[in-house]
Symmetry: C2
Subunit: 288 residues, 2 copies
């Protein structure tokens, strides 16, 4: 196995510019099989697959959360190489935010609720860093996971609104064998917390089961999901809603493509998940 | 004389993509010799010179000002062609702002004062439309006039902060024979107002005269300029300040490159002007 080179500046990326279709997977590192699936798709669809690793201070509303975020470049490098990455782009802070940086990209409406309401400034931080990275990398295709559905919807909107370079491609959630959506934050859970966290996918599964069996009222479906979560005292629900997949507005009656969004806290760890309640094609469990 | 073609979509611009260095002059139309000089520089320095004409609703804080803004595409087209434009890019509203557009680019600090304080939302509107246009046109070099100095400083900062495509190039103010900086808004002045407006360049000239003769105190220089403006009762000063050319912060003592910024209202028309107070090289009058 050869390790992919690590480059740190936009100039270093120039050498990949003429090698064909350029795929891009932006990450904050701490790579898991969810990222692995994005990198595999990028490597399969493109001639070059660049994986960026940058822990973005601007998108953490909680400094402790940023502090605790795992950093392990050499492990990530080997993992990304196995998945087919051509190179790792690991810019330092000044390359992304030069001294005096004072420009912000923000998207209204779509970011007002859910993660936007619970994490002030988070989405502006994501929108700004993604804009910067897309300009520095100039990909033909960029890959984002569907787990962060609101983020993906925001990036799609922003990309369209600003005519940003390249296409934005969403990829399905990868789940552990027991159904928990993979997340870098899962590593922070104790064994007991890990077991308790399963009420999150179970709630979504119960909601989809009810929806595909004919229940169309969002309030009823949300009650179903909430009662599953509330069976586990270690888990505090932040929100559970059913939304239009593009506008992220809550809906009253389920239609094709409507999704459940959930966020919950287990001890100090906050997890999110999402599921299309109208489609059995989006399997509840994808093995890594 | 051949008229440059008018194109209306980013796809139409593709045909100019492989013709060499692409220069870009974004405008709101109502072209005058100031724009002419930008187009001439773009045509001289680049293989292709694209002039965009788009009256951007997002940068007007006053709907009446937007309503009164002159629109005359065919005259502009001939004028731009004479100056060396390869093509006119005249997108419609939906091409710039597709339905549901909700993304905004904003720059803090540099836009807080002066035009930013007097015209709420104006700079966010400029930053957002320039970002969109730069993505749609993808120029190697973009040309902006120095008359809108704060705008130019903001665009330079934004371009650096977001790694936007291409270089940003500022071009000197073009003045009428009597010293008035050219502006599309000058056409709204009556003959009497036009004569009164000359106190604007006269004030700047008096300040530069004092500064190049040894006066270094900003307060004294601002008093000098203010007394020139106040001799003309038809002109109401909005602001007159001396600033750092990059940060736009007011300064106490003049140093190399510090600039006066002025805005004043003559009847219903608001004009702005600026001058480097430390350099005789920036001539007070450039003939069109």
């Amino acid at each position: 196995m050869t390790l992919p080179p690590v480059v740190t500046t936009p100039t270093d990326l120039e050498r990949f510019r003429d090698d064909g279709v350029l795929g891009f997977v932006p990450t904050m590192g701490a790579l898991h099989a969810g990222h692995g699936s994005l990198i595999r798709v990028a490597a399969a669809e493109c001639d070059v697959a660049i994986v960026s690793i940058f822990v973005n201070p601007a998108q953490f509303d909680d400094p402790d959360d940023m502090e605790r975020y795992p950093r392990r470049l050499e492990l990530d490098r080997a993992f990304a190489g196995d998945a087919g990455a051509t190179a790792i782009y690991a810019p330092n802070l000044e390359t992304i935010y030069p001294a005096g940086h004072s420009t912000r990209v923000s998207i209204s409406g779509i970011t007002d609720r859910w993660e936007g309401a619970d994490r002030p400034g988070h989405f502006d931080g994501v929108a700004t860093v993604v804009t910067i990275l897309l300009h520095q990398v100039r990909p033909d295709r960029s890959y984002f996971g569907e787990k962060d559905w609101q983020q993906l919807a925001m990036i799609r909107r922003m990309s369209r609104d600003l005519s940003l370079p390249g296409r934005i491609i969403g990829c399905p959630i990868v789940r552990d064998r027991d159904g928990l959506a993979l997340s870098s934050r899962n590593a922070r859970l104790s064994d007991e917390e890990r077991a308790a966290a399963l009420v999150i996918p179970h709630a979504l599964g119960a909601m989809r089961h009810a929806a595909t069996n004919g229940e169309t009222r969002a309030t009823t479906l949300i009650s179903t999901g909430t009662s599953v979560v509330n069976r586990e005292p270690m888990v505090q629900l932040a929100y559970l809603s059913i939304v239009d997949p593009e506008t992220l507005e809550p809906v009253g009656t389920i239609q094709e493509g409507h999704r459940a969004l959930i966020a919950a806290r287990i001890g100090a760890t906050r997890l999110i998940d999402t599921m299309d309640l109208t489609s059995a094609a989006e399997s509840m469990v994808h093995y890594p």
